[in-house]
């Protein structure tokens, strides 16, 4: 926290140039900065460049400057709008589920109870399961319309089993992704709750605040910042959900569960249309940047402290 004072407080250091030598930090920083620059900025510039080109690996005859054609084509193609809506729909509902349930669970796991430590470990476990594994467990063992556990539960309660991926493809993907991200929200909100001053809670209790007043007037305001951080970080990752879709529905049926990331993958790696895929990629970047701008601002405040 006191880092900003190191350079400007040479008086604290003993006299003599040795201990307070000026260090040329450039060679130390150069590898990290240079590599990150190569990794992000250069490919991004290439994506931008490709997005203005006719460039299809299957059709080398078609080449040259396309101007805004790729964008025009993409923006008038209904699949882009479907994918965009699916992307936002998925992000929105996963956020609602994870933040809502995550807040409740964080309050629950903040209470003292027997075996809390172990229960908490169980609750955060899904976050460490690789996306392809969690997608397959849900797809087969739980959501399978014939042999899945949910189908069995539905039948024994007298309901017809739900064909999750046939009838509710996007909802199914949302459930899987929400299950994976719920522990993340829980973990961060729990950390935030635990940093709440106990004296403040005690004081509120002394003043006669019940559990609900406590939650709405003490805990929730304290969590506001953590919740916004969860929302922003999750959004960044959720905008490019990919493996869960590839493994379960492959974007279908039709376009029902295709999001932007999956659309770009389809255009680039299945149809080899580099120009079009790049234009789609740029649209994803713009979407993410809108979110990232807020996130960086929130974190910048913290760094400045």
């Amino acid at each position: 926290m006191a880092s900003s004072t190191t350079v400007t407080a040479p008086a604290a250091a003993p006299a003599g140039g040795r201990s307070r030598r000026s260090v040329n930090t450039l060679p130390l920083l150069a590898p990290s900065v240079g590599l990150l620059f190569l990794w992000m900025i250069v490919p991004l510039a290439m994506t931008l460049w490709f997005s203005f080109q006719y460039y299809n690996l299957l059709n080398p005859m078609l080449s040259g400057f396309a101007g805004l054609d790729n964008y025009r084509y993409l923006l008038t193609d209904p699949s882009l709008w479907t994918a965009m809506l699916n992307t936002l729909y998925l992000v929105f509902w996963v956020l609602v589920i994870t933040v809502g349930l995550g807040t409740l669970l964080a309050v629950l796991f903040d209470q003292e109870f027997w075996g809390r430590g172990v229960a908490r470990l169980l609750a955060i476990a899904p976050f460490f399961v690789m996306p392809t594994v969690s997608a397959l467990i849900w797809k087969n063992m739980l959501m399978h319309p014939v042999n899945g556990l949910f189908a069995f539960v539905a039948r024994s309660l007298g309901f017809p089993p739900v064909d999750f991926f046939g009838n509710l493809p996007l909802t199914s993907v949302i459930i899987i992704v929400a299950w994976q991200w719920l522990p993340f929200a829980l973990l961060i909100l729990l950390t935030a709750i635990q940093s709440l001053d106990n004296e403040q809670k005690e004081a509120a209790r002394m003043d006669g605040a019940g559990p609900f007043a406590m939650f709405f007037f003490i805990i929730l305001p304290h969590l506001a910042r953590a919740i916004s951080v969860v929302i922003m970080i999750e959004t960044i990752f959720l905008l490019s959900v990919f493996a869960e879709i590839l493994v379960t529905t492959s974007g279908g049926p039709g376009l029902a569960s295709t999001n932007l990331a999956f659309l770009v993958y389809q255009r680039a790696l299945l149809e080899f249309d580099v120009g079009m895929a790049s234009a789609g990629g740029m649209i994803a970047v713009v979407l993410a940047n809108i979110v990232a701008a807020f996130l960086v601002r929130a974190i910048a405040k913290n760094v400045a402290e």
């Binding site: 190191t6 350079v7 040795r18 201990s19 260090v23 590898p31 990290s32 900065v33 590599l35 990150l36 990794w39 490919p43 991004l44 290439m46 994506t47 629950l108 003292e112 109870f113 027997w114 075996g115 229960a119 169980l122 609750a123 955060i124 476990a125 460490f128 399961v129 690789m130 392809t132 397959l136 467990i137 849900w138 063992m141 739980l142 014939v146 042999n147 069995f152 299950w179 993340f184 961060i188 950390t191 935030a192 910042r225 953590a226 490019s240 990919f242 990331a261 770009v264 680039a268 895929a277 790049s278 990629g281 994803a284 979407l287 979110v291 990232a292 996130l295 960086v296 974190i299 760094v303």
Partner: protein
């Protein structure tokens, strides 16, 4: 006192119920992995059955599984080691010799992490294809190193900042060169921090499923890609899938449990304490 105990009992039941519901899919997977294939798809499912380790034996005997697991291990550890090696000097410089631009630099690094991978998929894919890096371990190592570099720099930076400056100062007075200062003083002092950074990076590499699915096919495919191949209809062997999945997530689950605190710090870039 009476009431307090009762409240605690209710909380215990609710807490464990919630935890178990969340954990249930993993529990079910582990349970299925000890069934035979016929029991695995049976409805109603058996809760009590004679467990068999046949699936684990099959999975272990299939050479390809070992090959994919090895890819995961090699790629995760190599990328993590490389990222830490590259990040240490930068974090050291930013933590101990902050300048006017340090904050901006940190935020810029962070912002590269905000870029969706799909935005750079096309050029990276073409680049990999043209240089022969596609489906190679080193190609994936390069991608994972760079992917985690911002988080690693950021975490090491926060850990280094906690190292008392006096100790480094004293070392410097005793004539330690910058290199010795980093290797003999800073690194040992912040070893727990470096260890948890490494753990987080390994977890992220191990579970990464965008680049691995797009850039590897068989030679360098890690477990994420291997498990994805079970999504094909002909791969509908639930018990074997469960056994393979259990083995694939077990080590990382343990790592994750060990490093949950640092995880919060690393993934939120210190924005939540």
């Amino acid at each position: 006192m009476q009431r307090k105990t009762r409240d605690k009992l209710i909380l215990t039941i609710v807490g464990w119920l919630a935890a178990f519901l969340i954990f249930f899919p993993i529990f079910w997977m582990v349970l299925t992995s000890f069934k035979t294939e016929i029991e695995a798809i049976k409805t109603p499912p058996d809760l009590f059955f004679t467990p068999t380790i046949e699936n684990y034996i099959t999975v272990r005997e299939r050479a390809d599984y070992v090959h994919f697991a090895l890819n995961s291990i090699v790629v995760s550890f190599a990328a993590t080691a490389l990222a830490i090696l590259i990040a240490v000097p930068a974090s050291y410089a930013m933590a101990f010799f902050p300048g006017k631009r340090t904050k901006d630099l940190l935020l810029w690094m962070l912002s590269t992490k905000m870029m969706p991978a799909v935005g750079v998929l096309v050029p990276i894919y073409l680049l990999f294809k043209n240089t022969g890096a596609i489906d190679t371990r080193w190609g994936l190592v390069v991608v994972y190193t760079l992917m985690n570099l911002p988080i690693v720099v950021w975490m090491l930076y926060t850990f280094f900042k906690e190292v008392p400056k006096d100790i480094l100062e004293a070392g410097r007075m005793d004539g330690a060169r910058p290199k010795q200062e980093v290797w003999l003083l800073l690194m040992p002092l912040s070893l727990p921090g470096i260890a948890s950074t490494a753990l987080l990076s390994i977890i992220l590499c191990w579970n990464e499923a965008f680049w691995s699915l797009n850039l590897t096919a068989s030679n360098a495919a890690p477990l994420t890609t291997f498990i994805a191949s079970f999504s094909a209809p002909e791969g509908l062997f639930w018990a074997k899938l469960s056994a393979a999945s259990t083995v694939a997530i077990a080590p990382i689950l343990v790592f994750g449990w060990m490093s949950q605190r640092q995880l919060v710090r690393g993934l939120t870039f210190g924005a939540v304490k």
